[in-house]
Symmetry: C2
Subunit: 215 residues, 2 copies
DNA sequence: TCATCAAGTCAGCACGTGCTTACATCGAGG
DNA sequence: CCTCGATGTAAGCACGTGCTGACTTGATGA
C-alpha cells in the first residue's frame, strides 16, 4: 500500500533516495510527490513547451491537486527550475568520458533513444524563448554548461584562445543533436520520426565526427 | 500621405503588388494591412512560438486594431496558415538549384543570415507542437515538402526505393540547420549566437557536405 | 451634397490560466 | 481517545486570452 516500508531515516524532508517508481503513489509522502511532479513536469515541458504546459495538466498527470505545485515549488517557474536542476544533475553524474569517439557514440545513443525513454536531452530542446525571463536564463545556462562539457572532451581548454573554434564546433554538434531530437519528438516529421536507430546512427556518426573529431 | 497613388487597377481586393514597405501604412488599404499583419505575425510566431504570441501583440506591431485579424483571417490559426503559405511560396519561388554544392552554399547563407533579416527559415523552426492541432498539420506538411525539395537536389527520386537513405540524410541536414538557427535566434546561447558568419560557414559546409554530397 | 460601403475602432463576453485562501484528512505522540 | 502538525483538497479570485457585435470614419460616385 505504501512505499515508506523502508524506514525513511532522513527525518527532515530531503532527498531520501527510495524507490524510483511514482505510479503507485498512494500515500502521503511529500518527497515522493515532489519527485513525481518534477518527472511529469519535465515530460510536459519537453513535449508541449513551457508556456503551453499548464500546472493543472501536470497535477492531473500525477493525480494530485494543483495547489501542491505552488506549495512545493512556489510557482510554475519554480517547478521549471527544479526540472532544469534535475536534468543538469543527470547529465553531470554520467560516467566520465574517455575518448571523444566514445563520447560521440554515447551522444548518438541519447539522440536515438530520446523519444522513447525519459531522456534529459528532451528538456534541453526547450530552446524557444519561453516567455518567462527567468526560465530562459536557467535554460541558457544549462545549455552553455553542456556545451563546455562536450567541448572539453573534444580538446577545448578554457585557457587556450586557439581552441575557441572547438567550442563553436561543439555547440554546432549540440545544435544538430537538438534539431534531430526535435524533429523526432515534437514534430512528427517523416521520415526522420519513424526512422530506426540503425538508419540514423551512421549519418549521425559522420556528422559528429566531422565536427568533433577531425581526423 | 497615402500609397495608393498608383491606380490600383485590380478592383477586387487581391494581390495588387505594390510597394513592399508596410511601415508607412497610413491609409485604408486592405491588402497592405493584410500583408503587414502576415509579416508581423510571422516574425512573432518565429521568435515567441505560436502559443506565446498574442493577436493583440501582432496588431499592436502593425498599429491596427485587434479585430482586423479576425476580420481578415477569421482566427489566429487562419493567420498562422497564411504565414505558412507565404513562407512556402517564398521557398518555392527561389531560383532553381543547380549543383548540390550550390544548394548547400545557399542554405548556409540562409542559416547565417536568418537571425538578421526576415528569413523564411525562421518560421520553419516553429517545430514544437504548438498546442493547435491544425497548425501542427500545416507546419509538418511544409517541413516535409521542404525535405523532398532538398533531397531531390541531392539525387533522391520518389520512384527509387534505394534513394530513401538520401531523403533521410536530407532531413538530417534540415534538422541541423534548424538547430543552429534556433540556437542563434530564440535561445541566445553563446558562443554560437554571437559567432560571425565566417566562423560558421566552414563547419557548416563540412557537415552539410557529409550529409548531402558524399564525394 | 450626401448616401453608401469598405476599412477600422471600441467595449465586452466567455474561457483558461496561475495562484491563494480556507478547509478536510491522515498519522503519530501524549 | 484526542490533539496537532503535515499532507492533500475544494472553491474561487484576478488576469490575460481569442473572439464578437455594434459602432465610427473616410473615400467615392451620382
Amino acid at each position: 500500500m505504501s512505499n515508506e516500508t523502508q524506514t525513511s531515516t532522513a527525518g527532515l524532508g530531503e532527498a531520501a533516495v527510495g524507490a524510483d517508481d511514482e505510479l503507485i503513489r498512494s500515500g502521503r509522502d511529500a518527497t515522493a510527490t515532489r519527485r513525481a511532479l518534477v518527472r511529469a513536469a519535465r515530460r510536459r515541458f519537453a513535449t508541449d513547451g513551457y508556456r503551453a504546459t499548464t500546472v493543472r495538466q501536470i497535477a492531473s498527470d500525477v493525480g494530485v491537486n494543483v495547489a501542491l505545485i505552488n506549495r512545493y515549488f512556489v510557482s510554475k517557474e519554480g517547478l521549471f527550475e527544479a526540472c532544469m536542476l534535475r536534468t543538469s544533475d543527470e547529465l553531470e553524474t554520467q560516467a566520465p568520458s574517455k575518448s571523444i569517439k566514445e563520447v560521440i557514440e554515447r551522444l548518438i545513443e541519447h539522440i536515438v533513444n530520446a523519444p522513447d525513454r525519459d531522456d534529459p536531452l528532451q528538456l534541453l530542446l526547450l530552446l524557444r524563448s519561453s516567455g518567462d525571463e527567468n526560465a530562459d536564463l536557467i535554460r541558457r545556462r544549462t545549455l552553455e554548461h553542456f556545451t563546455r562539457r562536450l567541448a572539453a572532451a573534444a580538446g577545448w581548454s578554457p585557457d587556450d584562445p586557439d581552441s575557441e573554434a572547438i567550442l563553436l564546433r561543439a555547440q554546432l554538434a549540440i545544435a544538430t543533436s537538438l534539431g534531430v531530437v526535435m524533429l523526432r519528438t515534437s514534430a512528427a516529421v517523416q521520415p526522420v520520426a519513424s526512422a530506426s536507430g540503425d538508419e540514423l546512427t551512421e549519418p549521425l556518426r559522420q556528422v559528429l565526427r566531422v565536427l568533433l573529431a577531425p581526423a
